[in-house]
């Protein structure tokens, strides 16, 4: 038994070119980890493999000591995946969507209904609970998808650009939620192009380039790595990621 929520070992995936190149990564339980990198660096491919949506060419993925490649069902029970393009059904209402997600994750209908109400109220979607998602703004869709990701109370929350399309208030809500989940012992991995978010929220930051981890650590550790005590994350990111 380790304290690692996620262990990625020599993970490799190629499409027309190598997207993820023998990547090693360890995310500890109870930390908020920001995976940064330029477009096409392999962030989303890595997270899609962790979520069980892509099969790696080689390497291993352990989620809370469960071999995700050997027992994907058990691993997926502990994980929620929230991409930047919300996984929604336009013709379902938020309540119907959450009912479906609860069914997929095998949550008892009673507690799931109560949790759904709590989440929709918290995300200011309660008055829209019977409106179809096709009528929603992008931010509302993102919040509905977030409610879907949280309804089964995942131990590992994976978010790909979670603040895309959210207004300032909703973005603040999401950031507060991530901090709360981590404070309660949950683990969060997120990718973002908003470096200020990573700088303020993340316990550790990983910078990936061409499918390889080129730097990792707390903000201070990254500064030490650069030998500049007052460098901003943006400056370090541009230097390390070659942007």
């Amino acid at each position: 038994m380790t304290d690692a929520a996620l262990t990625v070992t020599r993970l490799r995936k190629s499409f027309a070119r190598v997207a993820v190149d023998d990547l090693d990564l360890v995310i500890r339980t109870g930390e908020l980890y920001a995976l940064l990198g330029p477009n096409g660096a392999g962030k989303t491919t890595t997270l899609r493999m962790v979520a069980g949506l892509l099969t790696p060419d080689s390497g291993g993925i352990d989620i809370f000591d469960i071999d995700a490649l050997a027992d994907p069902i058990a691993a997926k029970r502990r994980v929620a995946w929230l991409p930047d393009d919300p996984l929604l059904y336009d013709k379902l209402t938020p309540l119907e969507y959450l009912e479906f997600i609860a069914g997929l994750w095998g949550i008892d209908p009673g507690p799931a209904a109560a949790k759904a109400e709590e989440l929709l109220r918290w995300l200011d979607l309660w008055d829209q609970r019977d409106a179809r998602c096709e009528t929603f703004s992008r931010g509302m869709k993102q919040k509905t998808a977030l409610a879907g990701a949280l309804i089964h109370d995942p131990a590992l929350l994976i978010l790909d650009e979670p603040l895309t399309g959210l207004d300032a208030g909703a973005a603040r809500q999401v950031k507060d939620l991530l901090v709360e989940r981590v404070a309660a012992g949950g683990t969060v991995i997120l990718t973002t192009h908003i470096l200020e978010v990573a700088e303020r929220l993340a316990d550790r930051i990983g910078i990936i380039r061409a499918g390889r981890l080129v730097a990792e650590g707390t903000l201070d550790e990254l500064r030490n790595l650069r030998g500049s005590a007052d460098a901003s994350l943006e400056e370090m990111f541009i230097a390390l990621a070659g942007e």
Partner: protein, 496 residues
């Protein structure tokens, strides 16, 4: 500003027509893009010229036949108007509500009436175009061959289209105000499907029921009140009725742009903001199979366009089925068993494509902690539920008069539904729902296999219901196709 300058009426109309045309297809290859257009241009032209040549010697309508001719032509023009209203209703919904460009257009420094008039005339042109495509070659050739007055037919088609558009704008405006845009869309789609199907079945009345067709023709020979003959007389080139039709169309165009379109634009904006909220405690369903089936049925039930397309396919099958399956004494129980089996198979194929291939969120299902096969089984069950329901209703209708045929209907309906759904699940390619109408274009073999399979199962049903041992032959053919499909199916498929 000239009408053709940027922001002018013609410029706006061209914009509307370009958008309407671009919504009709996404094919990319030259052959796929151009061959249908070439066929659409040449076949009606050749057909129209041949028809005009064959009727070139027809003289003026004799007085004794005038009432009957005007009656038939009047009914045809009335049917055309009804069909155009149904087409125009859908086009009005798309143009004024679903395209979401009114805010952009009305925020431009242009007179709103011009913008709305261009939209209304754009709808009328798209409604008239297919009918003119098929009638104009005949009318032009006839004009050259000695019947210039028949060109009035083209004017009547155009006037009908403008009138239909005005009526559709009024209808949709009332529906928007009364029941909101979503329900208005459902009503318009289903109304259009029913109307189109009814007109098609009525046009085939001679094949389905010759006696009824004969009674109708005698009814039409009776003198109609004079004003109702005017559209027919206009089509035959009489000056006063023709001018009256043109005037009517002009008034309709003006009224729809001045009042109807403005009201529709306003109600489209306010109705879209209305949300109905239920009260009472929330109750979630239990069990994966149940939530998947419920979700799939909800998604289909909320897509009137899909329902319309599926319903139309079945409606257009009725005259064909009646012709092929009619026995000596009309439609008997074995024929109904066979028709129901074929319907169940085709319906299951359509639903399975929507449910399995056109899954909206395949990544969500792939990320869920469930075995893929369980979701696939739930999706197949959802696809078969409605077709088996149809077979059950048919079996219940037959059970007193022909109990054996009822059993055959139920069993073969279920077999045909499951087989068709399995074929889609194994060989269907993931595609968005929007391409439903063109879904078979990418898989000729699958489409052919479905038709042969539907034929095999319905043949089995017809012969089994008659008690013939030959039923085993088509059943074996169906079983062989399924065995081949099991062998050829891809080994690994995504959860969706």
């Amino acid at each position: 500003m000239t009408p053709f300058a940027a922001g002018g009426f013609a410029w706006l109309l061209r914009h509307e027509l370009r958008l309407a045309l671009r919504g009709t297809g996404t094919r990319t290859s030259w052959v796929a893009r151009n061959v249908p257009n070439i066929l659409l241009a040449t076949v009606p032209t050749i057909g129209g010229c041949l028809l005009a040549w064959s009727v070139r010697d027809i003289g003026a309508v004799p007085d004794r036949l005038a009432d009957a001719v005007h009656g038939y032509l009047g009914v045809a023009i009335l049917g055309l108007l009804a069909l155009m209203i149904s087409t125009a209703s859908i086009a009005v919904l798309r143009t004024f509500h679903e395209r979401h460009d009114l805010d952009l257009l009305l925020s431009a420094p242009l007179p709103p009436a011009r913008v709305l008039a261009a939209k209304a005339v754009g709808v009328a042109v798209t409604v008239a175009a297919p009918f003119l495509l098929f009638t104009l070659p005949f009318l032009l050739a006839s004009a050259v061959l000695g019947h210039p007055r028949w060109l009035g037919g083209g004017v009547v088609v155009a006037a009908d289209a403008m009138l239909a558009t005005a009526i559709a704008i009024g209808l949709i405006g009332v529906l928007f105000s009364a029941i909101g845009p979503r329900q208005a869309r459902t009503v318009a789609q289903l109304g259009a499907a029913l109307l189109g199907g009814s007109i098609f079945i009525a046009s085939q009345l001679g094949s389905i029921s010759p006696a009824s067709a004969h009674r109708l023709s005698r009814l039409l020979a009776v003198r109609w009140p004079s004003p109702l003959d005017w559209p027919a007389r206009a089509a035959l080139g009489e000056a006063v009725p023709l001018l009256a039709m043109v005037a009517l169309a002009a008034v309709a165009a003006w009224a729809s742009a001045a009042f109807g379109a403005r009201h529709l634009a306003a109600s489209s904006d306010t109705a879209a903001r209305r949300v109905r909220v239920r009260s009472g405690p929330i109750r979630f369903a239990r069990g994966l199979m149940r939530v998947v089936v419920v979700k799939e049925l909800r998604l289909i039930a909320r897509d009137p366009e899909l329902i319309t397309q599926i319903a139309l396919r079945l409606v257009y099958m009725i005259p064909l089925a009646a012709l092929v399956l009619r026995g000596k004494h009309g439609l008997d129980a074995p024929a109904i068993a066979a028709a129901t089996t074929a319907c169940a198979g085709l319906l299951a194929s359509s639903l399975a494509w929507i449910i399995v291939c056109a899954e909206d969120a395949p990544d969500l299902l792939a990320a869920a902690p469930v075995v893929r096969a369980v979701i696939e089984r739930a999706k197949l069950a959802a696809a078969c539920l409605v077709p088996v329901g149809v077979a059950t209703v048919a079996a219940l209708a037959l059970v007193r008069a022909a109990p054996w045929s009822a059993v055959v209907t139920l069993v073969m309906g279920a077999v045909a539904a499951l087989a068709a759904a399995l074929l889609q699940a194994w060989f269907g390619k993931p595609q968005p729902r929007a391409v439903f109408r063109r879904r078979q274009s990418g898989s000729f073999v699958l489409g052919l296999g479905e038709i042969v399979l539907a034929g095999a199962w319905s043949g089995t049903a017809a012969l089994a219901a008659r008690g013939s041992a030959w039923a085993i032959a088509p059943a074996l053919l169906g079983a062989m196709i399924m065995a081949g499909a099991i062998e050829a199916r891809p080994g690994a498929k995504p959860a969706s």
